[in-house]
């Protein structure tokens, strides 16, 4: 992974920490970004947002069920109606917010991106299909409630040329 990819990864890391600390009072710890092979999701509940603009691409979040439910509880307390449905909805909204925060930062380095509404995927062994065939960069996060990951893929990522 080169400096260019790490420069793109940083806004996603900062956005994730900011969104989760503000909305769920959780401070996630980021691990080292890596190049992900294959399309298998790392978690049980995922959401994908398509991005178009200066570059086409996508961003996805994938949460363990335990982590998603704990974040849901922190966000809405006792107002849970259907725990799985509400956890899916929460993962979608978190992906929306993280995408928005990261895109605002990326616009400052000349990447102007428009996002689609999130597609939410749930179930054992599900797959995350990114919009491009380019390299997928994944950032693992750990919390006291379980783990999740943020991944993104853009056309023209430098790592794809390696």
């Amino acid at each position: 992974m080169d400096t260019y990819d790490l420069n793109i990864a940083m806004p996603f890391i900062q956005a994730t920490k900011h969104v989760l600390s503000t909305m769920a009072q959780i401070s996630p710890t980021p691990g080292t970004p890596f190049i992900k092979k294959g399309t298998a999701a790392t978690g049980d509940i995922s959401a994908v947002v398509g991005l178009t603009g200066t570059k086409n691409g996508s961003i996805a979040l994938s949460f363990s069920k335990k982590c998603a439910i704990n974040i849901l509880k922190n966000m809405i307390g006792d107002d849970i109606e259907d725990v799985v449905k509400d956890a899916m909805d929460t993962v979608g909204e978190l992906t929306n917010m993280i995408s928005g925060q990261a895109r605002a930062q990326l616009s400052q380095i000349g990447l102007n991106l428009t996002a689609s509404t999130p597609t939410i995927i749930v179930g054992d062994h599900h797959r995350i299909e990114h919009m491009t065939t380019c390299t997928i960069i994944a950032i693992p996060f750990s919390t006291s409630h379980g783990n999740f990951s943020v991944e993104f893929s853009f056309e023209g990522c430098h790592s794809s040329k390696v």
Binding site: I76, T90, S99, Q101, R103, A104, N112, A115
Partner: protein
Amino acid sequence: MNIAKLRILVVDDFSTMRKIIKSMLRKIGVKSIDDAEDGKIALNLINIHTYDLIILDWNMPNMSGIDLLKSIKKDQKPKYTPVLMVTSEATEPQIITAVQAGASNYIVKPFTEATLTKKLCAILNIGNNI
């Protein structure tokens, strides 16, 4: 303006966000809150009821928040109803677009209860001591 008498509509496609906003509004004393998961349901409610404030997301399926905002501002009945955009769209051009379309104010997600209260008070001319 008596905050307990306000009627507010919250429009967001994600139920988690609608619940968060409704919970924050209840904490500051708002009693009458309706919600809608998309623009079409929101338009039906706006035709039936008179709202003191509409809180509106941007990125929604079927009808985007910005299209709903334009529609509200064209219609004679809700034309003067203040609209607070609460959205993940955080770039300056997007904020300008929303203001030009008639948004009274703008909050970027994620946000705190204090931010929502401050913006609501500013829009409705309520003292910021609730």
